[in-house]
């Protein structure tokens, strides 16, 4: 499972003219093993269990990289500290756009909205477990019957 993420990371690194490093592998390994939101400091101390010389800057740089390649999500809650979360994403976590004319359903995922939903839930003291969001409208498909009206 964590293996899979590491492979994705390696692929990203290889395909983007980057180089691998021992420190990054350690940090990523630690991160992918985390269940919950983690802070930079938490990652740093866990990483230092495996290599005591890893610097905070490297953790920041690694997490930035993981965010860029979609393997980590950054969250800003009220603490002022950034929390990082493994972005498994594939739990059926998509939302829907529905055309009122032809019934076509488009699935989409939007990290920003997911993030905001968490923020909203938190502000109301909720522990979020699920959500549904549906957007209704008229699609742009020329074959859609709705277009005949226009």
């Amino acid at each position: 499972m964590s293996e899979n993420f590491i492979e994705q990371l390696r692929g990203y690194v290889a395909n983007n003219g980057l180089k691998s490093s021992r420190q990054r592998e350690i940090i990523a390994g630690v991160f992918f093993g985390c269940e919950e939101h983690v802070t930079i400091d938490q990652l740093l101390s866990k990483a230092r269990e495996k290599d005591s010389k890893i610097s905070q800057a490297t953790v920041y740089r690694t997490m930035k990289l993981l965010s860029e390649c979609g393997l980590a999500k950054m969250r800003h809650f009220q603490s002022g500290q950034t929390l990082y979360e493994v972005s498994d994403g594939e739990k059926g976590h998509h939302d829907h756009l529905i055309c009122l004319d032809c019934g076509k359903i488009v699935e989409f995922v939007n990290a920003k909205i997911e993030e905001l939903q968490h923020t909203i839930a938190e502000e109301h003291g909720f522990e979020l477990t699920d959500h549904r969001m549906e957007l209704y409208g008229h699609c742009a498909d020329t074959k859609c019957p709705g277009k005949e009206r226009a």
Copy 2:
């Protein structure tokens, strides 16, 4: 409208052994007149139009007070800066937070989400006409039956 908020603030101040101050009234007045999220710096510069000697520290302290008494909401988005929002929620459109334990429904409004929804619809060539969003989770109410499980 803004008047109402100011009264609430004064009540809170009076009931909590605090004292009033010209600066705080100015900052609160400016804040309650804001439609959108505002930063400390925006509040500061608007407040300084009325009293050029108001300090940033006072703005921070005032906004902290307003948050504590429920008149302002702090938001931490990706910018790293804290945004403050008047917590009225009376703009008509709202979405729902639903407690899976006690069925409690909390209404909320979020301009950013509304905005993102339009952006997403546009990206997919949809003309948005309506939407629904529901967040499901467990509320923080101690009287909520779900808490017995824990």
